[in-house]
């Protein structure tokens, strides 16, 4: 845990593109280690911009961002890769390397971190099997469906066990069973200490899981907790019971698989 007790801390952060109006205004919040939040809001509310600030793709126009106890404004550029390696990102538009195979895309964070190739292969194969892409390891992203590409993107984001996972509409292109399966992956990661923020339009998912929410409206942030206890420990279990009987066996196997992987 970080000395300040938060993984991410924003203080009066504002962001504008060029000379346009501020898309984010006076954003202040902090995320404690191991928390799980949804980030909701209308299209254009600034969800992606907020995530970009969190994964250091943008710098704020004003205010302070503190990530893993590092003030981003004063952190030397050479230290940024170390911070970024602790953050897993699922991009809304996937941003996969189209010339690389599914395997190589998922292996990228491990190779960048200098992990041994034998370990890379073991972990990537396990994770791809878990997200149901074991038969597509050699496929290039353009030959995959939107849902498959999304799963590759998620696998790439979680392969290095990030401390903070930021996902922009991670279940937007998959069916309900796969959405649950992916949420279960996030749940397992969260159970093992990863702080998670998921930006989504899926109101049904938010309501069913009852997790704390960060809501953006016209560039301003508000936070609320539907369950009242910080997070819903039983939400996924309840969701599991409500899924069809036919998928129950798959989920049990999946859970076992991801626990082994993680």
């Amino acid at each position: 845990m970080s000395p300040s007790g938060s993984i991410v801390r924003f203080e009066n952060v504002g962001l504008r593109y060029g000379i346009g109006p501020e898309v984010l205004q006076d954003i202040s919040f902090s995320l404690s280690p191991g928390s799980f939040h949804f980030l909701v809001g209308e299209s254009g509310a600034g969800k992606s911009s907020l995530l970009k600030l969190m994964y250091l793709a943008l710098t704020p126009t004003r205010g302070l961002i503190n990530l893993f106890d590092h003030d981003i404004a004063t952190t030397p550029r050479r230290q940024m890769p170390e911070l970024r390696r602790r953050v897993g990102v699922v991009f809304q538009e996937f941003r996969l390397m189209n010339h690389l195979s599914t395997f190589d895309n998922v292996a990228l964070p491990l190779r960048i971190a200098g992990i041994r190739e034998s370990d890379v292969q073991k972990h990537v194969i396990e994770l791809l099997a878990w997200v149901g892409l074991q038969d597509h390891m050699d496929a290039r992203p353009p030959t995959l469906s939107g849902g498959q590409q999304q799963r590759v993107s998620i696998a790439r984001a979680v392969i290095a066990h990030p401390k903070l996972l930021l996902a922009d509409e991670p279940t937007g292109n998959v069916d309900d069973a796969m959405a649950y399966r992916l949420m279960h992956l996030f749940e397992e990661l969260n159970r093992l200490g990863t702080t998670i923020v998921i930006a989504t339009h899926n109101q049904q998912l938010v309501e069913r899981l009852g997790l704390p929410c960060m809501k953006l409206d016209k560039g301003q942030l508000s936070m609320f907790d539907p369950s009242g206890d910080g997070r819903s420990a039983t939400a996924l279990a309840q969701m599991s019971q409500s899924t069809k009987k036919g998928t129950a066996k798959t989920e049990t196997t999946a859970k076992s698989g991801i626990e082994n992987y993680l």
Binding site: R77, M80, R85, M97, N98, L100
Partner: protein, 293 residues
């Protein structure tokens, strides 16, 4: 499945398609310049070694053969008294005609021309002879005798060779700079083309050096490919030029050929070009990424 390839889609780059051919062309020119330089250097050294420590004594033709013979004997007797001289021998008329054959043609006899008498003199190894003193002593004893230590001719020849070498070196430097410039331009274009992919690599934790390494490996591969093409083109050219020189040198020129160590330098040129390309690309990417951040 597990094949390791570049994280950036270089294979689809149109801009780098011609880089190996540009490098091949430059390596080809560099090979010619370098070979010429090495051959001239070796030739100058051979001639310097061959001529240093030798003298030619020329006795101008006198009134008759008897006088010529007397004067030659006098010179030989004098040479015998000089301790620094290791060996001397008069050149026969036939040998002199053989030396003059490239200019005068064959079919002449020694009697047809008023040829001077020549004596080849070799100094003892490491012996020092003051040629000016020697010349004065010999002239005082036998007038009309000239001593040539080849120094004037050799100095002019060596100056000529050094000038050509300087030009060849300048050509090599320009070729090197052109290679560096081409790699810088190609790398900068590549950075612009792959900006999106580079951003993704940065966002998942890649250091600038990791991205620079990708560009450097690509440039190194293209460099070695171009270098080998250039080497392949230059070898037949050098072979043809070598053969032509060999036909000429039999009569007029000293032996002009590349030594084994020269061939090693030539063979290493593609590797050197590849290293230059690699290093240039690496530095360019690091600098550009710092500017872009």
């Amino acid at each position: 499945m597990f094949s390791r390839r570049s994280d950036l889609p270089f294979d689809k780059d149109d801009h780098s398609r011609f880089l190996p051919w540009l490098i091949a062309f430059m390596v080809f020119l560099a090979m010619l310049a370098l070979s010429g330089m090495l051959v001239l250097e070796a030739t100058a050294t051979k001639w310097d070694q061959g001529v240093t420590g030798t003298l030619s004594i020329q006795i101008k033709p006198g009134k008759d053969e008897r006088e010529d013979k007397y004067r030659q004997d006098e010179v030989l007797r004098f040479l015998d008294t000089i301790p620094e001289i290791g060996h001397f021998s008069p050149l026969s008329g036939d040998k002199m005609l053989l030396l003059l054959e490239p200019w005068l043609g064959s079919g002449l006899s020694a009697e047809d021309l008023p040829l001077p008498l020549l004596i080849d003199v070799e100094l003892k190894p490491d012996a020092y002879l003051d040629v000016n003193v020697f010349r004065k002593r010999l002239a005082a004893r036998i007038p009309g005798v000239e001593v040539d230590d080849h120094r004037v001719w050799l100095e002019r020849f060596v100056n000529l060779i050094r000038s050509i070498e300087a030009v060849a070196t300048a050509v090599l430097v320009f070729i090197g700079l052109a290679t560096v410039g081409t790699v810088i331009f190609t790398t900068r274009t590549g950075l612009a083309i792959h900006r999106g992919a580079i951003e993704v690599l940065h966002l998942i934790g890649a250091r600038d050096s990791y991205i620079a390494g990708q560009f450097a490996a690509r440039a190194g591969n293209l460099g070695i490919r171009g270098g080998l093409i250039g080497l392949g083109l230059s070898l037949p050219t050098l072979y043809v030029i070598g053969n032509m020189a060999k036909k000429m040198e039999e009569n007029m020129l000293p032996e002009m050929s590349l030594e084994p160590q020269h061939w090693m330098v030539i063979a290493a040129l593609p590797l050197l070009v590849s290293l230059i390309a690699r290093f240039t690309a690496h530095i360019t990417v690091i600098r550009m990424l710092h500017k872009m951040s």
